[in-house]
Structures are given as structure tokens and as C-alpha cells.
Amino acid sequence: MQPDDIKSNILTTTLESAVNWGRKHSLWPMPFGTACCGIEFMAVLAARTDIARFGAEAIRFSPRQSDLLIVAGRISIKMMPVLIRIYEQIPEPKWVIAMGACASTGGVFDTYSVIQGVDKFIPVDVYVPGCPPRPEGVVDSLIKLQKLVETEKFSDYSTTRGK
């Protein structure tokens, strides 16, 4: 390799930003669709909005293979233990999108059996308003989440999990 090639072929960066760059363009979603938002999420994957453009087209129905949990729909008290288990099964790093009014706040279902926002029990990074949100809204939340992934710091990772 000639000295001139080295000049034009080497890029200096930090490991952190290189890894975050890779992560933000390969978010693999785990869809947790329990209601009409789940139906709307299918449209997000389809040709018109096509989240493959953002590297998030690899929908995994196994939490162990994904790093983005999309809670799409209302969560009942019977479903919440399942959601918590699935969240805990996702390996780090992991992010959560609360899609729609029900996942974010409980929506119109202010009753004994519906969780009033999943963020009461699991950490949510991006909320998408709407009932259900349009596919553009979900794409917007994905772009917002990508910006969040960029700011992730290795020093934040604690070895003592859950403390």
C-alpha cells in the first residue's frame, strides 16, 4: 500500500461510535402485537414505508435474537408477566418502542385489567402517539431511536445488572 492510499483509505473514529453506528442501522425488532397496532405494524414492514431502509426489516419472533421490543397494543394484567419475561430475555443492548396510545398510557381502556402504560414497569425509549399510529409515525420513532442509539455509552454499562 502506498502512503497516498493510506491517507485516503483510513478513517479514525472511536470504537464506541463505530459500534453504535453499526447497531443503529441493524435494529432487529421483536413485535409484541396484541391489538390493532399489531396490524398497523405489518403495514410498516410492507412496501410503502418499508423499514428495511433503516435496517430494521429482520423481524424476529424470538426475544433472544432481537434488540428492539415494539409493544404494539394494550397490555392486560394477564399479559404483563409475559411482556416482562420477554423483555428480560432480550440480550443487552436493548430498546423499547411503545407504539400507540394503549401501550404508552392505557389509552381509552381505563379499567382494572389494562396496564396504564408499559413504562410503569419496563423502560420505554420512544413513544408513538396515535390510535393506531400511521406507519409514518412508527418510522419516525425508529429514526428517533437511531439517534438515541448513537448516544449510547460503553461506560454506562454496569456489570451489576438491575442495581
Partner: protein, 170 residues
């Protein structure tokens, strides 16, 4: 008409069981004592009303009625397309009545739902457990004296955190 014949038959056979017969929206409603529901239902089933369309229940706490609870059977005759509603009244202090599962298999899950949401138990049911709420749920939410927002069931879960320690880093 098939229905009027059976209603006179019910009156003749079980005079003390029938509390009232009313009409609503062009359909007959027969009000009976809860403990005799199987006798009346069997008579309807053997006389043409072969299809149990639905079972549901009513809490008469604020409505008034013969008893606190009424278990409502909606029957349909496939022969004549006639419909009839049978309301079996159940007292509050002993909310129990015989299961219709022996007459129609479809009563199985319907009765489990009523048991879950109203707390009315069915004698002779093969598997009377909750069907909608979690198994460890306390109370019967469709009863009128159950608070709409529940008894903090929806707030009773562990709070899970991510493995990163953002607070410490800041």
C-alpha cells in the same frame, strides 16, 4: 307456533318455577327459579329449541329483580327460527345453580366465563376455573360492587430496569 306451545307446557309442568313471562323487542322472556333451570332447559331442548346461542348473566344490584343475579340463556330453534330467552334467578347468598353442560357442550366455556366475571358457580361443571382473568385473580369484576378501576391489580408488577446504569454515569 312452537314457542307458545312450549310456554304453556312449562306453565303446566312447573307452575311454581315460572316467576313471570314478559316480552321485549318481540321476543319472549321466561323468568324462572335458578335451581330448576335444567328441567326447563331440557323441556325446551327436547321440544325443538336445539341450539344454545349464548349464556350470560346480569347483576341486578341497582336494577332490582327477583334475585341479585340472573343467568340468561338464549335459545334458538333451527326448525322454526324462533328465539327465546330464559332468565334463571340466583340468590346473592348462595350463587350456585346446576350446569347446563350436560345438555349443550357449548355451555362449558360460557359458564366458566360467568364464574370468572360474576362469581356464580355451576354444580356439575367438569372444569370450573377462571377463563379470562389470571388464575390468581381475586374477586369477580363484572359484579356491580366491584370498583371499575379494580383493586390495584394493574399496578402490582415488578419494575424492570435495563442493564445499563444511566443515573450513575450522569
Amino acid at each position: 307456533m312452537l314457542l307458545s306451545k312450549i310456554i304453556t307446557k312449562v306453565h303446566d309442568k312447573f307452575p311454581s318455577v315460572t316467576l313471570d313471562t314478559t316480552q321485549f323487542a318481540g321476543e319472549d322472556i321466561i323468568h324462572i327459579q335458578g335451581s330448576y333451570n335444567l328441567d326447563v332447559l331440557k323441556l325446551f331442548r327436547d321440544n325443538g329449541f336445539n341450539f344454545l346461542a349464548d349464556i350470560t348473566a346480569i347483576d341486578n344490584l341497582t336494577l332490582g329483580g327477583f334475585e341479585r343475579f340472573a343467568v340468561v340463556y338464549h335459545l334458538l330453534s333451527h326448525e322454526t327460527a324462533e328465539r327465546v330467552t330464559i332468565k334463571a334467578y340466583v340468590p346473592e347468598d348462595q350463587p350456585e345453580l346446576p350446569s347446563a353442560e350436560s345438555l349443550w357442550k357449548t355451555a362449558d366455556w360460557q359458564e366458566r366465563e360467568i364464574y370468572d366475571l360474576f362469581g356464580i358457580s355451576f354444580k356439575g361443571h367438569p372444569n370450573l376455573i377462571r377463563i379470562m382473568n389470571p388464575d390468581d385473580f381475586q374477586g369477580h369484576p363484572l359484579r356491580k360492587d366491584y370498583p371499575r378501576l379494580g383493586r390495584k391489580e394493574r399496578d402490582d408488577f415488578p419494575v424492570v430496569k435495563r442493564g445499563i446504569n444511566k443515573e450513575a454515569a450522569q
